[in-house]
Subunit: 225 residues, 2 copies
Amino acid sequence: MRRLSWRVVASVVTGLALTLEALPWLLSRLQVRRQRRPRRDVLFFPSQVTCTEALLQPPGAAPAGPSVDCLCSLPHSESSLSRLLRALLAARVSLELCLFAFSNPQLGRAVRLLHQRGVRVRVVTDCDYMALNGSQIGLLRKAGIQVRHDQDLGYMHHKFAIVDKKVLITGSLNWTTQAIQNNRENVLIMEDAEYVRLFLEEFERIWEEFNPTKYSFFPKKKQGY
Amino acid sequence: MRRLSWRVVASVVTGLALTLEALPWLLSRLQVRRQRRPRRDVLFFPSQVTCTEALLQPPGAAPAGPSVDCLCSLPHSESSLSRLLRALLAARVSLELCLFAFSNPQLGRAVRLLHQRGVRVRVVTDCDYMALNGSQIGLLRKAGIQVRHDQDLGYMHHKFAIVDKKVLITGSLNWTTQAIQNNRENVLIMEDAEYVRLFLEEFERIWEEFNPTKYSFFPKKKQGY
């Protein structure tokens, strides 16, 4: 009996040892799950000027991708702008834009393209920059995209986008060609549920506050910067 | 013998079961470690105007904290500005600032305070905004803080800070009182090694490019925005 209980103890120990043997595998699985982490990129500007035509083809045209056929003289490599365009064009359901200034034609085309594809696009912008030289806001409105603007004394100075309520794109970059090609800027692309939730709440707050039914006809003039 | 091997199998199974019993505990430990995650906050502006005197006491004065003694008429609660000040004032070793515009007096005091405490402060700014009304840049320089500025055609439009090479503070907010009190803005505070590394590399690139030995005496005038 005594010998037996020793055997039982030994077997229990073997069992424990076997399971402990399996632990590294289990932990490595957890590790893999942790490594397969959500998207998080940082884009720095100024961006190299590259051809973005292949990305901006309308529905029905050749699928987006690096075009080998385009004969323009611009480089056909990746750039910060092309990466930003790709992140936006990944939208399938919804796109919220909260932008101080929006005048870059490529980004404007991308947003209109998403609207054509049936993505629900909503735009909030600063009223002082709606009529900026080359502003895209008029073109977005003509295309049927909903745009709301502030009438506050302060600026609506955010520069963020939310793609499919899953990815937050935010940083210092105003969506102007001047900023993209000449300024030192940063843009974070973060697939992050918590940040998306907080920025989406901010968007909805502003969207509701800028409801056109609340507009006054003689807004006060802004001062300072 | 046959009975014995059944016992052995039963014991091995018991051992496995016991270890599996312990798994939830092991996983919960891992969970706890995952929950004790690094700091990540989002501040939205405009900020309520609150008293920040208690935070900005010079070395030797009463320790920072909510002041019960201050008799000013401002609220003594937390605000986005006070949270931003706290994040900066946590610096013990180094502070890198890369700021388009810097004119808010409280943030200026906080940076000078850190310099007094022996924190190594380095500032990069845009030359067009150095002489902005109420700019803090002159005061920082007078205090002995190193400041470098661009001479590019584009703007140095970043608005980020790196605290102790551990925490990144970045967003849309220019460090002006106008922006803090009136604009809609966001600031992310992220204790994140990867983001810190990328932004620190960007800072060092700019710091080196803006080395005063490279300044020309007749820089070109900027255009656009």
